[in-house]
């Protein structure tokens, strides 16, 4: 006997099949999140597979799934996502935080707790949705932060997320293009204990291979690293940080897998006053720490 069409398990099976058939990545995970969202839950884990959906809910699921069929990322459809234990609003074209960045903020936190036991001033370059600066502020109640991004949408989203997490009091967000900032126009010379950045670092070759989820919906400025090796923006962030870091301050970067040795080379040759400490030996080897001498 076939199960009625309005129970969760049938809906999940149906949409997983449709997504799969249309080459939508992560078909069953996507269906799970969208159905859970309609039922007011974050994940499908605790939703009873026997639960029945009302016709209104069925329609809502359909609307969301049609968006997914157009390769809209789940995080944008649902309008929010979790970054560690923070729930943040997500809105195209602002970059959706990646799982690797959850690692980065923990490493930076350990560093801050070590070097600045009382309070610190943090800069987040390319803040996007605000994930990095907001998570650090939440875990370091006496710190203050300045976040910059080239995108007005990103700046607004960071402010919105700061407000909803009650952190706006300790954060100032500025629209700023670090590639055009020079020493004379700089508002904050040698001020920061830590500069953190997850700059765009995708190479031209990788760009060609990106899924529509990225190319159709996320800001290209948040992805394209620039230059044949995708290092252009990284280098600008390093240059910018050199001027904004305190003596003894640290720059933390999340970069592409191939970048750490290239960055080490660049710093040795072009950045007197900065020391490339290490590519942090974590599970993907993409976190770099630079120290201002």
């Amino acid at each position: 006997m076939r199960s009625p069409v309005n129970i969760v398990s049938s809906i999940l099976t149906k949409w997983t099949r449709i997504f799969s058939h249309n080459q939508v990545p992560e078909p069953s995970t996507s269906a799970g999140y969208l159905v859970a969202h309609v039922l007011g839950k974050k994940t499908i884990a605790t939703v009873s597979k026997q639960a029945r959906l009302s016709s209104k809910q069925l329609l809502h699921v359909q609307q969301l799934c049609l968006q997914r069929l157009q390769r809209r990322p789940v995080q944008y459809i649902v309008g929010e996502w979790d970054f560690c234990d923070l729930t943040l609003k997500m809105k195209p074209p602002v970059l959706i935080p990646r799982p690797e960045t959850e690692e980065l903020v923990h490493l930076v936190l350990a560093d801050l707790n070590d070097r600045c036991p009382s309070s610190a001033l943090i800069m987040d370059v390319g803040c996007g949705s605000g994930a990095i600066c907001l998570w650090l502020l939440k875990n370091r109640p006496d710190d203050r932060s300045i976040a910059v991004d080239i995108s007005t949408e990103a700046c607004q989203l960071t402010r919105d997320n700061a407000e909803s997490t009650d952190l706006l009091r300790r954060l100032a967000v500025h629209r700023c293009d670090v590639t055009t900032e020079s020493a004379s126009t700089l508002k904050w010379p040698q001020s920061f204990d830590v500069v953190v950045s997850n700059p765009p670092y995708i190479t031209p070759a990788e760009m060609a291979d990106l899924d529509p989820e990225l190319t159709w919906y996320e800001d290209e400025r948040a992805l394209l690293g620039g230059g044949p090796d995708g290092m252009d923006i990284i280098k600008e962030v390093v240059r910018f940080s050199q001027q904004t870091l305190k003596r003894g301050g640290s720059l933390w970067l999340e970069v592409g897998l191939a970048h750490p040795p290239l960055l080490r080379q660049f710093v040795m040759q072009h950045c007197t006053g900065l020391n490339f400490i290490a590519a942090h030996p974590d599970f993907t080897g993409r976190y770099c720490i630079l120290n201002s001498l």
Binding site: S3, S9, P25, E26, T29, S30, Y33, K42, T43, A45, T46, V47, S48, K49, Q50, P73, V74, Q75, W81, D82, F83, C84, D85, L95, I96, R98, P99, E100, E102, E103, H106, N198, P200, Y201, I202, E206, D209, L210, D211, E213, L214, E218, L223, E254, G256, L257, F283, T284, R286
Partner: protein
């Protein structure tokens, strides 16, 4: 009542459906919910680690971390096989069936109790995430950890954040490794007590829930509790039985001390 060494620890509660197919899985869900409600009753915090539901609304297995005051102390004798006797919803001829499920209560180790070398742990992400970086958008945050020296595994996908799943999987992994060590120690001890904890209990039938006769029987202390529905709602009724079990256990340990003095 004197406290045993682990009484203060937080725990991981694991439920697994046993014999009885779909009916066993429905019963597993009911017992898991009973403990969730009991945790609420006792003001404890519950973190969900695993929750494997079936197409027909049952629960195959689930794991949750429970933390708070005296969690292990109160729940330690809940481990074992729980049995239900009733007419299943799907049963047409009105016959009473017996199904089982297993509860495992594992104390969570404190920092000093357990040392795990990071290199001993293998971490698996789902295929589409993990090393993707900026070039991939992923929502599949499932994390699977394997402790290479023992082969013990823990998996979590109850959260949207990969890091949170990893933290929970790690807690489960540590508790399972710790419990394996504890059980190896206890296995060599000999005791005639009815109320014991450990792997021996995993296969012992400790309680029967009989719906037609509306009674719950704990096989270690005997006696029946009526009003099954109240009992399974995880409130005062369950709490009373647990207190009886604790009192009985204390008496037994005193007796044992006397016998071997």
């Amino acid at each position: 009542m004197p406290e045993a060494p682990l009484d203060d620890n937080d725990i991981i509660l694991e439920v697994t459906a046993g014999v009885g197919g779909q009916e066993a899985m429905l019963f597993t869900k009911e017992i898991f919910e009973m403990y969730e409600k009991y945790a609420l009753f006792m003001n404890w915090q519950v973190e969900l680690y695993e929750h494997s539901t079936t197409e027909l609304g049952g629960l195959r297995r689930a794991s949750a971390g429970i933390s708070g005051l005296g969690v292990y102390r109160f729940l330690k004798f809940e481990g074992g096989v729980h049995r239900v006797q009733r007419v299943p919803k799907t049963e047409k001829s009105g016959r009473v069936h017996t199904s089982t499920m297993t509860v495992a209560i594992m104390p969570q180790p404190k920092e000093i109790d357990i040392v795990i070398k990071p290199k001993d742990i293998e971490m698996d992400f789902s295929k589409s995430s993990g090393k993707g970086g900026q070039s991939v958008n992923t929502t599949d945050s499932c994390v699977r950890l394997v402790h290479k020296p023992t082969g013990i595994v823990a998996e979590c996908q109850t959260e949207r954040s990969q890091l949170q799943n990893r933290e929970r999987a790690m807690k489960m992994l540590k508790a399972r490794i710790y419990n394996k060590e504890l059980e190896e120690q206890v296995a060599n001890e000999w005791s005639t007590r009815r109320l014991q904890v450990g792997s021996r209990q995993r296969s012992e039938k400790i309680r029967t829930y009989n719906y037609p006769q509306d009674r719950v029987t704990d096989h270690r202390i005997g006696g029946n509790q009526s009003n099954l529905r109240e009992f399974i709602s995880g409130g005062q009724s369950l709490h009373c039985l647990i207190k009886c079990l604790l009192k009985e256990s204390w008496k037994e340990s005193l007796l044992e001390m006397y016998m071997y003095c």
